[in-house]
Symmetry: C2
Subunit: 218 residues, 2 copies
DNA sequence: AAGTATTTTCGTACGTGTACGAATTCACTC
DNA sequence: GAGTGAATTCGTACACGTACGAAAATACTT
């Protein structure tokens, strides 16, 4: 209602809220580091920051939101790592990225699971249509690397479709390795690399049509 | 300890136990049909068959085991369906199977999730190494169809590796579709078919080495 | 038939996520 | 300042999965 300034009182409130949220998140991180993923409970978290258990829900919709926020941090650091080590050759960069992504999933199965294997109940309706691609920095990078390959004439077809397929195949491999540690995949690293090579070979051999008509992409 | 006959008293006990287990499973099925997947609780299940809640644990290790048993039934019927509709042409049969498998996953996301996207804590140690491939009838069929293609000379390479890769790719696609219903995959059916075609193209183009040395396969 | 061992049943209790709504704090107007 | 409306905090309570171990039922031995 106020035109010239958006009422700095409200701003301060928001800043405060963000601070408490960050404090909660830090405590959650700590708790997970100390007691493992299962060790994080709302009650323990609340006690650690001196709040009542139910107060946590003023800052996070539910427990899953906390775990997701933690996992997002991990993916952020993955994205930094991915950006750091990019071979010049576009195809090599893409391949390297896929194997790094996979390695991350295997090293951080909990985070991988909460972000990519758990129901996406974040559907504030009327919200963006392309949730994970927009929010997950690793997926954003994937698009970039695929685009670079196309610019170099290594692949052709629709970038979004291509990246989505590659993500699908990579995700399938990673998630199976996570879920079935006793299945005879043989050497995990070998299996991952074979997966990626077969996927890339398929994408090279088969035309990749756009998934969506041009006007539907946001 | 008894040589000639394994003591029919124990047998009867076991039969009885199996009966009660089946009764519990039937009640669980009913409950899920009536109130949905989340509607199944140990307490409700016990009440329905007239037992105390804790008695259920004499027949199932935990809640997940019940869900898994229910899901296994669904996969059984999938396998029957898959076996029924097999084109003569081996490659067409394999393709058909993949799309049917995927369709099943999308139509039964809860069952798919409990069997293929949830931790494999069924690790009675010293147990079979190849859990899902042995237990899931759909995966067994996959091996058969892949073998048929190889017999026909359509593909070559290691059958187990080939099937595992195909499963990975199919699973990746299905599980992403389940987990991110709002991601812009475009037409789901189209996306699935493109996935499968790209996967098959890759497997055709790229050599598929064995995952395991010959002596390691059980 | 009596006694002993073993298996099966389940009463109690704990810690969990979180719905609900009352209590409290805060921002703002007069 | 006092009063009012809105946002924030949290006390209480519920249903959940299930650990633990006592109670009851059953099987086996003598």
């Amino acid at each position: 209602m106020n035109d010239p300034k958006p009422l700095s009182a409200q701003d301060r409130r928001e800043r405060q809220k963000a601070e408490v949220r960050a404090e909660l998140l830090a405590a959650a991180h700590e708790l997970v580091r100390e007691e493992g993923y299962e060790g994080l409970t709302i009650r323990k978290l609340a006690k650690r920051v001196g709040y009542a258990p139910m107060s946590v829900y003023s800052y996070f919709a539910d427990k899953h939101a906390i775990l997701h926020a933690i996992a997002d941090d991990a993916f952020e650091s993955l994205a930094r790592r991915l950006e750091a080590q990019a071979p010049k050759e576009p195809l090599a960069a893409l391949r390297k990225m896929m194997t790094e992504y996979a390695a991350f999933g295997l090293e951080n199965p909990n985070e991988y699971r909460t972000v990519f294997m758990t129901d996406d109940h974040t559907h504030d309706p009327g919200q963006s249509i392309a949730e994970p691609e927009k929010r997950n920095p690793a997926l954003q990078l994937l698009l970039k690397r695929v685009q670079a390959c196309m610019d170099a004439g290594i692949f052709q077809g629709d970038v979004h479709a291509f990246a989505t397929l590659l993500w699908s195949f990579g995700h399938g491999t990673v998630s199976l390795l996570i879920t079935f540690p006793h299945y005879p995949f043989g050497d995990r690293q070998k299996f991952l690399e074979m997966s990626m090579d077969v996927a890339l070979a398929g994408l090279k051999a088969h035309p990749v049509d756009p998934l969506m008509p041009p006007e539907a992409r946001c």
